[in-house]
Symmetry: C4
Subunit: 220 residues, 4 copies
C-alpha cells in the first residue's frame, strides 16, 4: 500500500463528522448573526477536520447565517474545493479557499469570516494596516498590553482566492517573528478574518479584534 | 365562460392562504422589529399571492410590528386596495399601493418596507441617489464587488402612492439595463423599500442595503 | 351620603387591579430595559386606573426595571403621593408627581419616562425645543409628514415635581391649538416623557419620538 | 486556641458557598456579555464572601463570560491569590488583586470589571478624570443631579495589581470626603471598574456610569 493511499484513507471524513462540525458551525454562526456581523447571507465559518491532507467543514454558500442547521455545511479540501457532493447539493463558497489557506499557513483549527462594519471602516481609513498599541485588549489575541505594536494587516479585496491567499500569506509572514502571531486579517471593502486553535478561540479573537478596530475607528 | 371570469376565478385567494401568508409576515416583521427598523407601528411587509390579477397579503396598518399574529394581514389588489373586508376590520396601509406597484413592475414576490435610520440619513445626505462601488456586499444584491457603480435611488416622500409609484418606476427604469436590477429604493425623509423573489431574499436585500447605507453614512 | 364620599368610593382601586396594572407595567418596563433606555434603576411607567379622583399605578422606585413583577408597582393620587401603604413597603418615585400631572393635563391613560440617550443629547444641543418637520415618522405621533413644524418641548430639570409640572404644562399649552397635541416632553439633562391613551400607544409614541430625536442628533 | 486560628476558621468558605456565589456571578456575567461589555474573555466579576480575613469569589480567568456555569469561579484572598486549588484547576485572573483591593478599601460587597467601550474612550479623551455635573443619572450613583461635580478617576493601566491598587486608592481617597463615594474607576486603555454593596447595586452603578461616560463621549 502506497503512502498516497494511506494519505487518502487518512483524509476520509465521515458524514457524521461533517454533520457534527456543521452543528457547531450553525450554533456559532447564529451567535455572530445576532451581533449583526453576518447580514444577508454574508460571512462563513470553518472547522478543520483533517490535516493530512487538509480537510475543512465550511458553512454552505447562500444561506441565512442565523438559521443554519447541522446539514448546512460542506466538506472541502486544501483548495476550498468540495471533496464530495453534498446530499442537498450545496456549493462551497469561493471563500472556502481562503479559509483553507489560512488553516494551512497558520495551523488554525477554526476560521471565522464576518462582515463586521468596524473592520471595513478601519480598512477604508487605514489601508496600509491597522497599528494597535498599549491597549489591554491586545492580551486577548496573545500580545502585550504595553510597549508592543501589533499590526492587523489590510489586503485588497479580490474574487480570486489565490490572489487573496497570497496577499494574506505575505502579510502574515511579514509580521515580526519574535512575537506571537496576529490571528486576524482585514480584507478591504469586504470584511474580517480571524482564527484560533478551535472555534471558541476563533470567536474570542474575532470579538477582540472587532473591539480593537471599533475603538480605533472611534478614536482616530 | 369568458376570460374575464377565468381571471377573476384565478384571483380568488382563500382565507387560509391569507392567514398562512400572514403568519410568515408576522414572523418576519418580529425579526425586523427586533433590529429596531419598525419602531412604533412603522413599516409594512407584503407577499404576492396571485399574479393574474395581482394580489398581495400586506401587514395591517396601525399595529405593533413586533407582535403581529397570522390574523394581522389583509389581502389587497394591484392598487393596494382591500379585496374584501378583513374579519377584524383592519385597513390596508396606504403604502400597500407602493408595495403592489413594486411587485407589478419588478416581478418581486415579497416587498419589505422599514424605517431604518441609515436609509433616511443617506437620503438626507445624498438626495440625488446613493452611489455604491467596489464593496463586497454589493454581491449580496446581485452586483459586482468591483468596477461597477450601483445607485440606490432616492425619491421624495409623498402621501399619494401614485406619485410615489411613478417616481419609483422612473428611477427603476432609468437604471442601466445591462446590469442586474437594484432591488431597493429610498423614500427621502421616510424609509427604505427592498424586495426579492421571496420573503427570505427580500430580507437579505434589506439587510445588505442597510449595511451598505450605514457604511456610506459612516465613511462619507 | 355626600358627593365627596361618593367620589372617594369611586376612587377605591382594588389590590387586584393594582397588581393587574403592575403586571402590564412590568412587562412593558422589561421591553424598554431591553432597549437600553432604563439603565440602572432609571425611569418609570404609569397607568391611569381612576379619573375621579385621579389614580395611577406607577412602577416602584429603586428597582431594576428589567426584572419587575406584578407586585412592584404602587397606587398614587393626583399629586403622585401613595394612596395606601404597599404590602412590601415600596415608595413611589418623586417622579410619580409628574406622571400624575401629565395624566391630568393631557387626559393620557399611560405615561412612559425613560432615560433614552438621544433625548438627553437633543435637549443638550437644542435647549429651546426640538423642531421637527417633513418626516414621515411624525405621522406616528399624530402629525403631518409635510409642511407642519412640530416642537418637542425641552424643560429644565428639577427635583421639585411642581416646578417640573408647571414647566410641562406651560410648554404643553403653548403649542398651537389647531393641530394635534405633541405627546412628549424632554426634561433636559434627564430624559424623556411620552404618553398615550393606553400603554401600547404610549410605547409607540416613545419609540417614534426617540427615533425622531436620534435622527435629529445624527443629522444636525 | 489563638485569635489567629479563630480568624482562619472564620475565613473558611465552603465549596457550596463558592458554587452559590459562582452561580450568581455566571448569571450576571451573561447579562454583561449580552450588552457587549465582556467581549472575548474580557472582564471579571467578584462577590465578597468573607471579611475577616477578606475572601472573594471571582470569575475564573480565560473563559467566555457569556457561558459561565456555577463551577467557573474561584475563591481568593485579600491579595487576589487562590485560597485553595479549584477542582477544575482554574486560575484566578491577575485582576482579582484589584477586585480585592477595591473591596478592602471601599467595603463593597461586589465588584464589576468590564471592557465597556465608552469607558476606554472617555479615559483616552480625559486622562485626568471625567468630570460630571448636573445630570439626573448622577443620582443613580448616590450623588446630586444639581450643583455638584463628580469625578470618575482615570488611572494608567498596569499589569502590576499593587501599582493599580495604589493608584486606585490614591484617587479614591482624594475625592471630597463630604460627599458620597464615587463607586467607579476607569483604567485607561483598559476598562471600567464599578462596585456596590451587592451584585445588583454593582450592576446598577456599572450601567449608570457607562451611560454617563457614553453621554460624555457623545457630547464633548
Amino acid at each position: 500500500m502506497t503512502g498516497r493511499a494511506a494519505s487518502d484513507r487518512g483524509a476520509r471524513v465521515s458524514a457524521d463528522a461533517v454533520r457534527e462540525a456543521g452543528a457547531s458551525l450553525a450554533s456559532e454562526a447564529a451567535r455572530f448573526a445576532q451581533l449583526g456581523w453576518m447580514r444577508g447571507t454574508s460571512g462563513n465559518l470553518s472547522l478543520v477536520v483533517g490535516r493530512d491532507p487538509l480537510r475543512l467543514v465550511v458553512t454552505a454558500s447562500g444561506l441565512d447565517k442565523g438559521e443554519l442547521t447541522r446539514d448546512d455545511a460542506v466538506l472541502v479540501d486544501g483548495d476550498g474545493v468540495l471533496v464530495e457532493e453534498h446530499p442537498l447539493g450545496y456549493a462551497a463558497s469561493a471563500e472556502a479557499g481562503l479559509h483553507a489557506r489560512i488553516a494551512a499557513v497558520t495551523g488554525a483549527g477554526a476560521v471565522v469570516h464576518v462582515h463586521a462594519m468596524a473592520a471595513v471602516e478601519a480598512g477604508q481609513h487605514l489601508p496600509g494596516g491597522v497599528e494597535l498599541r498599549d491597549l489591554e485588549m491586545l492580551k486577548g489575541i496573545g500580545h502585550s498590553a504595553h510597549d508592543e505594536t501589533v499590526t492587523i494587516p489590510v489586503v485588497p479585496n479580490s474574487q480570486d482566492m489565490r490572489v487573496l491567499g497570497d496577499a494574506f500569506e505575505r502579510a502574515y509572514r511579514a509580521a515580526p517573528q519574535d512575537i506571537a502571531e496576529v490571528p486576524a486579517l482585514i480584507v478591504a471593502a469586504h470584511g474580517l478574518y480571524a482564527w484560533g486553535r478551535d472555534l471558541i478561540q476563533a470567536r474570542h479573537h474575532t470579538e477582540i479584534v472587532e473591539w480593537l478596530l471599533r475603538y480605533t475607528v472611534r478614536t482616530r
